[in-house]
């Protein structure tokens, strides 16, 4: 990766470009500071030591694994949120696939009752994966549907209820209020639910991901992130800043458009990919 055989400024510049172009943002500046200090202190003296040093720093920043919220009896409810086009609906399909493979019963709630053919899109996935879906026509009230889905999941003794929601920008006050209402309505029917709120972030997104995480966390107590489209060339580095500033862990990463293209987050592998 590094062409020179001395740890000179040109080598450091190369590393700085790598960090910034991975969308690490503010974390990139801190990493370069740490690297310069380490060089000055004689802790890092050759180019070959740079990448392992930085990898360790970033893995540290990503923090420890955070356990899932335990669920007593009744369905585990997962609310899936995020801005438009980030990959929520497809991620739900992937989660359903993963859970089914683990032997759990799954139900989907098609609470995007706004966007053209959103209900149809989730319906296709439900058919393909052979999972139960609670849906209504476009234009129906999403909160009412969320309540009915929670009710059905409880009564039908479902293991996991995955709730799809319409894409919305975190700056749209009325839409964020709608999301709060959906969460509240779910908790009315199933106390303690939703047990997980997954913010789906598009892996190609830059620094705006931090603002998205901040606003969604403030509104609906996000518990974890899914970073999609990492099968492309984007590195998803913004999640490092999100963990540092908001203490939100990455739960899963999306690596394609098929139902199998989801992996549980592995910090070491993620960090290694940053340097590919």
């Amino acid at each position: 990766l590094l062409g020179s055989d001395t740890l000179d400024d040109a080598t450091l510049d190369q590393m700085e470009e790598l960090l910034y172009t991975a969308d690490l943002g503010p974390a990139a500046a801190d990493l370069m500071d740490a690297l310069r200090k380490a060089r000055a202190a004689g802790e890092v003296t050759e180019p070959a030591q740079v990448e392992p040093f930085l990898r360790d720093q970033i893995v540290d920043m990503l923090g420890d694994d955070v356990a899932d919220t335990p669920v007593g009896s009744g369905p585990r409810v997962v609310l899936v949120v995020g801005v438009n086009g980030s990959g929520k609906t497809t991620t739900i399909a992937k989660l359903a696939q993963l859970l089914k493979r683990e032997g759990r019963s799954v139900m989907l709630a098609a609470c995007d009752t706004f966007r053209a053919a959103a209900v149809e899109q989730l319906g296709v996935w439900a058919d393909r994966l052979e999972v139960r879906i609670v849906k209504r026509e476009t234009g129906a009230d999403p909160s009412g549907l969320a309540f009915d889905a929670a009710d059905a999941a409880q009564r039908e003794d479902i293991d996991v209820l995955l709730v799809d929601t319409a894409g919305r920008l975190h700056t749209a006050t009325n839409l964020m209020a709608e999301l709060v209402k959906i969460g509240r309505v779910i908790s009315k029917r199933i106390p303690g639910a939703p047990h997980e709120v997954l913010l789906v972030l598009d892996g190609t997104t830059g620094q705006n991901a931090i603002a998205q995480a901040r606003e969604f966390k403030q509104a609906v107590a996000v518990t974890g992130l899914v970073v999609t489209k990492l099968d492309g060339t984007a590195k998803g580095g913004a999640v490092v800043s999100i963990r540092r500033q908001l203490d939100l862990p990455v739960r899963f990463i999306g690596l394609g458009e098929g139902a199998d293209d989801l992996e549980r987050f592995a910090p070491a592998a993620f960090v290694e990919a940053l340097f590919d």
Binding site: E17, Y20, T21, A22, D23, G25, V83, N84, G85, S86, G87, R115, A116, A117, E120, Q121, G123, V124, W125, L169, H170, T171, A172, D202, T204, T205, G206, Q207, N208, A209, A211, K229, D231, G232, T233, A234, K235, A238, E257
Partner: protein
């Protein structure tokens, strides 16, 4: 704001003085940080800073304006120059239907934007558009475009079981037959590193020779914007870029990087999910947003 940040750094240097090299370097560090925060590509920032540094050192500070304001103006002028364009987004063909091809990464807003453009063409240019649902891969993508077409009273062409390039060709024939003068082809989102799907896009282009090809790009894209835009440009010469989801609070620096690396001007911006939420691009507005 950037002007305030620079004023702090430049210690209120005002009229009568000249910008020293040291003062310029400190101020440029501040601008560099602002541009990177705004998602402008690392290399684009580096080149831009170098160009402006040349212009800025030794500049006399105009009496009525602070050094900070002056430096922001230098950057603003430079960026507006980079983002401006003279041409019209559409070239309408004579005597045959005009073909518009939409391409881009997954989820960037192509389907919604294709419908918005059809509506725009009808209301602003009195065209008779035909929408082509050529995304046969995403679940309910054809339904999505058909529903949007119904909302704006524009016909949507689709034949089940045909690949995208055949759909586009059949749609062109249909347009000629039914007197539709503009054919807008929606395509599936794809990765620029997916050789097969990029070849498919090439085939669509070869079959219908688009008059205008748009890259639909999400305004919140980060540093990857350069990589993907460059790759799309290599497969499909781009006539324009449409920047979507600008109704959010993303600074939109990716637009600068995309223009810089492809040469394609931003023609339109998407500012919402509704059909009417499409506007002509204004360089000065985006630049002041990027500079923060």
């Amino acid at each position: 704001s950037l002007t305030q940040r620079l004023s702090k750094v430049l210690g209120g240097l005002t009229g009568g003085g000249r910008l020293t090299e040291k003062a310029v370097d400190e101020a440029l560090e501040e601008v560099r940080a602002a541009l990177l925060e705004a998602d402008v590509h690392f290399r684009v920032v580096r080149d831009l800073i170098a160009r402006v540094r040349e212009q800025a050192v030794g500049q006399e500070i105009v009496k009525s304006v602070s050094a900070g304001q002056m430096l922001v103006k230098v950057f603003s002028d430079e960026l507006v120059g980079m983002m401006s364009s003279e041409g019209e987004p559409f070239t309408f063909a004579g005597g045959r239907p005009t073909v518009v091809l939409m391409a881009g990464l997954q989820g960037s807003g192509k389907t919604t934007t294709t419908a918005k453009l059809a509506h725009w063409l009808r209301t602003e240019h009195r065209r008779k558009p035909l929408l082509v649902a050529a995304d046969i891969q995403r679940p309910a993508a054809v339904d999505q475009l058909k529903i949007l077409g119904e909302q704006i009273d524009v016909p949507v062409f689709h034949v089940p079981g045909e690949p995208p390039e055949v759909l586009a060709e059949l749609a062109l024939a249909e347009a000629k037959r039914t007197g539709r003068d503009t054919v807008l082809v929606d395509t599936a989102g794809r990765l620029h590193i997916d050789a097969e799907l990029m070849a498919e896009l090439s085939r669509v282009r070869e079959r219908v020779t688009p008059d205008t090809t748009f890259l639909v790009c999400d305004a919140m894209t980060g540093q990857d914007a350069v990589r993907s835009a460059e790759a799309f440009q290599q497969t499909l010469p781009l006539d324009g870029v449409i920047l979507t989801k600008l109704d959010g609070d993303t600074r939109g620096g990716a637009a600068l990087s995309v223009r810089h690396v492809t040469g394609a001007p931003v023609a339109f911006v998407g500012v919402g999910e509704k059909i009417e939420d499409l506007q002509r691009f204004h360089a000065d507005r985006l630049v002041s947003r990027i500079l923060g």
